[in-house]
């Protein structure tokens, strides 16, 4: 995994985990890599991964079964979506809005473009 420059590492790791859950590589009630395994794979400090896992626990995306490890929560997919949505609204949307405003882009044009994009990709 390549880290990007602008976002805190622990959030990028959270995205990485969410991505795996959304793509159903890791399914509900499945065990996910331990803090140490994840730290080794990503070459980061285990404390950073711990911070990620704590965040994801708070968002009910994963849960910690003491002594066994971390598991994907039952409602994980829904929670990931709402978490990602909140993140998108907070972080990325303002930038998009700014560009829309600066470049005078019409909402209708956006609508048609969005529809074609969905049709082509999904």
């Amino acid at each position: 995994m390549e880290f990007r420059d602008n976002k805190a590492i622990y959030l990028q790791i959270a995205e990485y985990v969410c991505e795996h859950i959304l793509l159903e590589k890791w399914q509900a009630d499945q065990k996910i890599p331990s803090v140490r395994e994840m730290a080794v794979t990503l070459e980061v400090n285990p404390n950073t991964v711990m911070r990620t896992y704590e965040l994801l626990q708070n968002k009910n995306i994963i849960n910690n079964k003491r002594g066994i490890g971390f598991f994907v929560a039952e409602e994980a997919v829904a929670n990931v979506k709402s978490y990602r949505k909140a993140q998108f609204m907070e972080d990325e949307l303002p930038i998009v809005f700014r560009n829309i405003y600066l470049l005078n882009i019409d909402f209708e044009e956006l609508q048609t473009r969005y529809n074609t994009f969905v049709k082509e990709n999904f």
């Binding site: 420059d5 602008n6 805190a8 959030l11 794979t41 070459e43 980061v44 404390n47």
Partner: protein
Amino acid sequence: MIKIDNLNFSYSKHRVLFKDISMQLSSGHIYGLLGKNGAGKSTLLKNLAGLVYAQSGKIEVLGLDPAKRQPALLQQICFIPEEFHLPAIKIDSYVKANAAFYPEFDHQYFADLLKEFDIPVGQKLIDMSYGQKKKVIISFGLATNAKLVIMDEPTNGLDIPSKAQFRKIMASALTEDKCIIISTHQVRDLDNLIDTVIMLDENKIALKATVEEITDKLSFKRLKEIDETVIYAEPSLAGYNAVMPNYHQEDSKLDMELLFNAVLAEKNKLKPIFN
């Protein structure tokens, strides 16, 4: 784990390195020791290992004074110097001669580390390149299971794949009871591995803070233009890489090199933020 109280150290009257340094380090962390050339990174590490003696002040490592060089403490110290010399013998003879001094030496772990680093076990140490020797002594040091791991510029001399292996190995080496201190000027090699930054400058500890604390208080951004809120900025292709106070609770990625330069250039602006 480590307690330093009012440490004063100088090599001579004209070369004072530390003036009344105090700090505490605890286990379960990887500390990154940064500083300009000659700021005293290696000397601080040597003080912790009892290889040099301070003029005044107190150092305690695991409750013991490192300057006494007691076996009970030496067993718990893994020190990887920047320059070292290994005898002209085979790896297994080296291990045979040295491992027994460390009651918690883990032979299986040592073999695993060598394998991870792609070092053939039967090879003679003298036939190895500097980088390979470094990997052997890092593997040996970690296999001693010492509680205090001190590494002086560990990535020097390692090639690109070895640096990745090194990061993986260090990520898995950190346990609750270990304290790892790494000095480096190649921060890009290690910035995701370090969870606490210690910066030496002008005989003092200019900064000691966890990555979390730093990104809580500061935000690292790419800006098109700089204004007066910016503490420090460097021009880049897309504008400026800037450090500014974190007004909006943003979670930015710590740019260690930028922070380093910011601390050197704007000490006075940064000090109130961290106190």
